[in-house]
Symmetry: C2
Subunit: 446 residues, 2 copies
């Protein structure tokens, strides 16, 4: 099931990608039953922000209740020996299944930013003679900040002032983008030099949804002697990948987007097994100690991936995440990916045919092979349109400054009917100019 | 209400600190009603490990349910503007009330270890010409590991090998202890030198329960030009303190012990306002950025305490913690402290009068003014005795290698009757030598 720009007709007559068409797509959607795994407290609300905060899986409610009332309330400290202590590795292995990582290479812990901090420093330790970190201008600013902080910390006098760019020791370099959608890949080959220690990119770009060819770029970096660290925050759970097969060195990712782990559920990190004995975390944590309950005063790193643990993880959030993974595993990443392509193809089609007249443009790759599970619409009034959609139209997208309306299509619970209705509601806002009632003032949080 | 060794009698006859005596103490305990704020799923279980994992407050159940089903399930991403975004500072301020910190100086985030990492590096940045970090051998090994990792990272070639002690740039120094209970305070004055950048200690020592004089030692360190960083993990919620008044520089702490935040609930950190504009976190996180939703690629630290935030916190655990703080605020730290002194005095008395004949010794300060809310009993068979108590006697203490049985007396829900019964059960294990049925093998997790 694929929509092409050049397929505007069916045997029944002129092609009309309307609500009936959407309902027909839903009727043939093999993942449609998975919608029932999730809570829909407001059935008329169309939620296209699952790439920012995934919907609540019903199983998570039960799991959290059990964790609180039985494991904490009744079993108390004994629960550490009944599934809590191993949870960061156990849930890590479950995520590993989704990203092509054999057991023992993924842990769930801390935040995406802290995991990037740990692994980027670990990566630099393997290439001490190289002083450049390469990323791109499309990456999460949050990732750029971490890299800048590392460059600052590793400068010859990091503790004096800590001002950005005060020292040329380590530098963060940015691959550019001409259109804000696709990175300038033609510059990548020359951008990676014999001074590049680490190439770190987001697998799927958070604004445009551009999907990097992880395998090809990993190979390219390795040919230049650089290591790679992929941020999977916008791809884990919707894009098939094979980190082990592709020889990826390091990866990190978020669990509250397509993994539906709940607000601020702990992040994950991956260290390829071939590197684990050669690197340590810069943060020497007791959970990463070789024998934490010996209470020895000197740190010795644990073997394997465990050394990247630091302190005690938020167990309630971690176990809720574990329950949330189950529907994803049942559905299978390949099926999820197929539906994501259909959803975003449909959305791209509707953008071009319904919204272009209102001044919208697609700010995402047109080729589904180079696109994740979300798209962005660019419009000068993006902020006010977003406000009107949320306040009046029962549609939740998100706004990304300065002019993007981002629409996320989480395949497990977004239907084709949702997509149709979303675009119909956007069109209504534009036809009636409803956005003009809203101030230009910026959101504090979107 | 205080017990002294020299008060062995009452007007009714010879003093018998037995169950009736304990019940009489309970009858006069003004905090006794607070026990009903907590879940007691197994009424016959005596839980003296609240200093490791606090009991489940009933309010936390409701709060977690609301956070999951209403805030996440129904309101979805909108909840970020309805109390989630501000939670790290809001809950931080609530903890600030418990430690004598005015608003705007405490945040809840990450783990105790990561917060130590952030603040110790921040502290070192203020004393760049000094290369020594002073702690003690009684401190959490977890804190020592973090400090060792920092010393390694700041060595001239941190990325080569990352092996402990390979470089003399920064050193971690340890104040000793002759008895494993009390630090050698007489050596402190000379241990802090003009090379000491930072003095970092646990306010209450995790094994012995020794309570440092925070005010005096902060003053001493300041006189020597050093900064202080206190780990409050074993004192917050049970010991009154006045961080602002005492001019403390930095502090960190855990929230799942006496604050009852639940397993792995996020930790907190304090930075005195007078220092906030002079330091930054080594981990440049987007939550600490000046304008995170501008999505600017360059990091600029936010004003104030917010710059020590990194990434998105586990909201479920954070809001559960918030609910757990309420009974503590209602009870008041001064009343909690008074009861803690009575509980540990009673326990110390019972140790000496009931358990000394079986080879136990008190491994905690005898002076209640220098003791937190837990005590340790030393016994060569501590491990096996702990096993027998847990498996057969419905008593949960915890074991700390090599020979400590640690008993925590969380004043909000531990009664004097609990204390009596606990010692009676320990005596039973010893009388019947029940511990001999257990292997010497070590616990994986205690």
């Amino acid at each position: 099931m694929t929509l092409h720009d050049d397929s505007p007709s069916t045997s029944a007559g002129p092609f009309a990608p309307d609500h009936d068409f959407a309902l027909a797509l839903d009727a043939h959607d093999e993942l449609a039953p998975f919608r029932h795994h999730f809570v829909f407290a407001e059935p008329d609300l169309i939620y296209l922000d699952g790439n920012s905060l995934g919907r609540l899986p019903k199983a998570a409610i039960q799991r959290a209740r059990h964790a609180i009332e039985e494991e904490w309330g009744r079993d108390l400290i004994r629960s550490w020996n009944r599934g809590w202590w191993d949870a960061p590795l156990r849930v890590g292995d479950a995520i590993g299944e989704l990203i092509g990582a054999a057991p023992g290479q993924v842990i769930v812990s801390d935040t995406t930013s802290i995991n990037l901090y740990k692994l980027a420093l670990a990566a630099l330790s393997l290439r001490p003679e190289r002083k450049h970190i390469l990323t791109d201008t499309l990456n999460f600013p949050s990732d750029a900040y971490i890299l800048q902080g590392i460059a600052n910390l590793l400068s010859p006098s990091p503790l004096h002032g800590q001002s950005l760019g005060s020292d040329p020791g380590y530098t963060v370099q940015y691959l550019g983008s001409d259109d804000g959608i696709t990175p300038n890949l033609d510059q990548l080959t020359t951008a990676i030099t014999d001074q590049t220690a680490l190439v770190t990119l987001s697998h799927v770009v958070f604004k445009s949804g551009y999907l990097y060819d992880m395998r090809a770029i990993t190979e390219l970096a390795h040919r230049k002697g650089a290591l790679v660290l992929w941020d999977l925050s916008h791809s884990v759970g919707v894009i098939p990948m094979a980190l082990d097969d592709w020889q990826v060195d390091f990866a990190i990712g978020c669990t509250y987007k397509y993994l539906n782990g709940g607000p601020g559920s702990p992040a994950f990190l991956y260290v390829n097994r071939r590197l684990q004995d050669w690197v340590t975390s810069p943060i020497w944590g007791w959970w990463g100690q070789r024998a934490p309950f010996d209470f020895e005063l000197d740190y010795l790193p644990a073997p394997g991936i465990r050394r990247f643990l630091v302190g005690t993880q938020p167990i309630l959030s971690l176990l809720t995440l574990e329950a949330a993974l189950e529907p994803i595993r049942q559905a299978g990443i390949e099926r999820i990916r197929r539906k994501a392509i259909c959803l975003t193809e449909y959305a791209a089609y509707l953008t071009e045919h319904l919204l272009t007249p209102f001044g919208f443009s697609l700010a995402s790759p047109r080729d589904p092979a180079r696109r994740g599970a979300h798209i962005s619409l660019r419009h000068p009034e993006a902020y006010r349109i977003t406000r009107a959609l949320i306040e009046e139209m029962r549609l939740i997208p998100d706004f990304r400054a300065p002019d993007n309306i981002r629409l996320g299509f989480a395949p497990l619970y977004v239907s084709f009917s949702d997509v149709w209705q979303a675009f119909d509601r956007i069109r209504t806002v534009m036809l009636k100019k409803r956005y003009q009632a809203y101030p230009h003032a910026r959101l504090t949080v979107t």
